[in-house]
């Protein structure tokens, strides 16, 4: 023990001398001031997050004077992210953008970061309100629902019978979106000639969703379009339309993954669908963090959420308004079609 202690103190002394010499050296060459913004994701090697990083780098290039540090643990754990944030605090970065593995476990460490003047925001997967200044969500109920009706209306010329193929009948997200869609069908004059004839549930199972789509073709021979706001449902409906040789007769839109939908986009079964785009997400998050770092948000105090109503100029994404308890909504989901689906299919 004693020997070990002696050795440890000797090592520290040696290291201190080395470090002192070094810091003297590094003081001499004053580097131009670049803001360091770190993006901490759930885990490394996930193409979704790699796309977020690409968006962050795009924003950094546009804004200038920003260095992006892209980090994440090798396994998706809160402890791994805490370790990374610790090393980011040590590096004195200016801003940290986190997709959290645990909305609560990161609070102590992000609070510590904020107490040292580092601006912290979350995106994709939130940190609870006490541990970040802004949380960026990709979209919101109202926008998603309205956009889906808009997309199908474009494909069928705003005229004819439309059905919804959802996940389970209790799915909270889908039900909220469907409520918005129903209101659009009923109240928006632009859609007066469209009629919502049925809402069916495929329970997010491929085979059941496929059968429900087939059932719709039987029950509603005049059916013009299907909206499927679930990734499983929209892919199954694409297959049903293809198999039943209804391409061109029944149009399909929904919320889908480019990798799963590429085939149906290219064969015209589903000419367009939507989902949040990770590149936009990384781009917007970086724009917001830059605004925080540069002090462009008046109510941005360390450790508290930015007040509702503040607006961030987010480059090509336009204005992003901060809402209640610092939650910001990026905007409409991104629309995928023949022109871009192949590019994104390799990402997610």
């Amino acid at each position: 023990m004693k020997k070990t202690l002696r050795m440890l103190s000797l090592a520290l002394a040696l290291a201190l001398v080395a470090g002192a010499a070094l810091s003297l050296g590094s003081c001499a060459k004053a580097a131009p001031k670049t803001a360091k913004i770190a993006m901490v994701v759930k885990s490394m090697g996930n193409p979704f997050f790699d796309a977020c990083r690409d968006g962050a780098q795009e924003a950094a290039k546009e804004l200038g004077g920003i260095e992006i540090i892209y980090q994440g643990p090798s396994t998706p754990t809160a402890e791994g992210q805490i370790e990374i944030i610790d090393s980011l605090i040590a590096q004195k970065v200016d801003g940290i953008i986190v997709s959290a593995n645990d909305k609560d476990a990161l609070i102590p460490i992000t609070k510590k970061a904020m107490s040292k003047g580092i601006k912290v925001m979350s995106f994709d997967s939130a940190i609870a309100a006490g541990g970040r200044m802004v949380d960026l969500v990709p979209s919101e109920t109202e926008l998603i629902g309205k956009q889906q009706v808009q997309l199908i209306s474009e494909l069928i010329g705003a005229e004819g019978e439309v059905a919804i193929l959802s996940a389970t009948s209790q799915a909270t997200n889908q039900n909220a979106w469907i409520e918005v869609m129903k209101k659009e069908f009923e109240t928006n004059p632009a859609y007066a000639k469209m009629k919502l004839v049925a809402t069916v549930y495929g329970d997010d199972l491929s085979d059941k969703s496929y059968r429900e789509a087939m059932g719709l073709f039987e029950s509603y021979p005049k059916l013009k379009g299907i909206i499927s706001p679930t990734t499983v449902g929209v892919a199954a409906a694409g297959k049903a339309i293809t198999d039943k040789k209804l391409i061109g007769k029944v149009q399909l839109v929904g919320l889908g993954l480019p990798s799963e939908m590429k085939f149906y986009v290219m064969n015209d079964a589903c000419k367009q669908f939507a989902l949040w785009n990770p590149v936009d997400l990384g781009y917007s998050a970086t724009q917001i963090t830059n605004a925080l770092v540069k002090g462009k948000l008046k109510s941005a105090k360390d450790g508290t959420p930015v007040k509702a109503g503040e607006v961030v100029e987010a480059g090509r994404m336009g204005k992003i308004t901060i809402g209640e308890s610092g939650v910001a909504v990026m905007g409409n989901p991104f629309v995928f079609n023949k022109s871009n689906v192949e590019k994104y299919a390799s990402i997610f």
């Binding site: 023990m1 020997k3 070990t4 050795m7 440890l8 000797l10 090592a11 520290l12 040696l14 290291a15 201190l16 080395a18 470090g19 070094l22 810091s23 590094s26 885990s43 490394m44 090697g45 540090i69 980090q71 994440g72 643990p73 090798s74 396994t75 754990t77 809160a78 402890e79 791994g80 805490i82 370790e83 990374i84 610790d86 090393s87 605090i89 040590a90 590096q91 004195k92 645990d102 609560d104 476990a105 990161l106 609070i107 102590p108 460490i109």
Partner: protein, 351 residues
């Protein structure tokens, strides 16, 4: 040595190898032999690593940063202490991270039902101790190999947390509870955790090197049968060692839960391997009977600061794992090479 007199068969097993060096050797040769000791080599690696990190990153060598970085490995270091005893006995405990999980689960439950900080801590320690005793009783009373038992309890303990919590979490802990794992002592610089570890490390070194119990542990690791025939209460010692591992895993659970303020079923996942890595890198033979506390302390700081250094240089986590893995392989190979060299050095002295 103050233990009972032991038979000649066990005597050989009870000699600390490090003491062999000092016997009838000239100072020069003693120094040479010391230099070839694993702890010394590990220490040199540690110094080289610290120097390299300091040269490569301007922020590495900041006392506040270095002290803060210990938060990320102190809990593992605390479990590494009893793990030294486990592995010295020739056993293995891979359930430690799962003990953290189940202990944290019960702490979350008690906090949710309104318990105060003291009660929560006692629950955490109690559940850890109970889990360790459960392991120890299965291993010693039913005579099942430790690896087999702890593979089972690894799944069992974490399974309970998974079943109870699912995708939920306990996140409401009293503010004073948070202080335990996040707080600082000594001018607001030294984490409490680190002081707890220092005290426990001193205690572990004392027990291992200065008590009969410590001698028993070495005896068991060198030759279980011989130890038993020499009157060493083999099963009781092993039971105590597993119970202590459970208790200190419970303590680690208290500190970790306090530090992150949240209990999720996947808490501390994969930590058992990190703990075993530092013990093995610290020079404790996986076959048992050889090794000491000092080497493991150096190894813990070596691994911790290596990761921190790579962290401040933004080395991706996967690359860190490769480097850590490589270190472990070296740790298994090098002692054998050193052993050969040392024997040659000792023999060379007589030739």
């Amino acid at each position: 040595m103050s233990g009972p007199s032991l038979g000649p068969a066990a005597d050989g097993a009870l000699v600390d190898e490090s003491r062999l060096i000092r016997a009838d050797l000239s100072p020069g040769k003693r120094l040479a032999a010391l230099a070839l000791k694993w702890e010394s080599l590990l220490f040199l690696i540690f110094v080289a690593m610290m120097a390299a990190n300091s040269l490569l990153s301007p922020v590495f060598l900041d006392p506040a940063n270095l002290l803060d970085a210990t938060f990320n490995f102190t809990e593992k270091a605390i479990i590494a202490l009893p793990m030294i005893f486990v592995i010295l006995c020739g056993d293995m405990d891979i359930s430690v991270a799962s003990i953290i999980s189940i202990s944290s689960l019960f702490m979350g439950m008690s906090s949710a039902s309104g318990a105060g900080t003291t009660a929560i801590v006692l629950v955490g320690l109690g559940v850890g101790l109970a889990a360790g005793l459960f392991n120890g009783l299965l291993i010693t009373r039913l005579d099942i190999p430790a690896v087999a038992v702890t593979i089972g309890t690894m799944s069992l303990f974490r399974g309970v947390s998974n079943a109870v919590l699912g995708d939920q979490a306990y996140t409401r802990y009293p503010a004073s509870f948070g202080e335990l794992g996040q707080g600082y002592a000594v001018a607001g610089l030294v984490p409490w955790q680190l002081l707890v570890f220092a005290a426990l490390a001193a205690a572990a070194a004392l027990v291992l090197n200065r008590t009969v119990f410590g001698r028993y542990v070495y005896a068991i690791g060198n030759n279980k049968t011989a130890a038993r025939f020499s009157g060493v209460p083999v099963q009781d010692v092993r039971l105590a060692v597993f119970a202590a591992t459970g208790l200190l895993s419970g303590l680690a659970a208290v500190l970790l839960t306090s530090r992150i303020g949240s209990t999720r079923p996947d808490i501390a996942s994969g930590w058992e391997m990190d703990v075993i890595t530092s013990v093995v890198l610290g020079g404790v033979a996986i076959t048992g009977g050889k090794g000491n506390v000092g080497g493991v302390i150096i190894a813990t700081f070596l691994l911790g600061y290596l990761r921190f250094g790579m962290g401040v240089m933004n080395v991706p986590g996967k690359v860190m794992n490769i480097i850590t893995g490589a270190l472990l392989i070296v740790a298994i190979l090098l002692p054998r090479a050193i052993e050969t060299l040392r024997r040659r050095a000792l023999l060379g002295g007589r030739a």
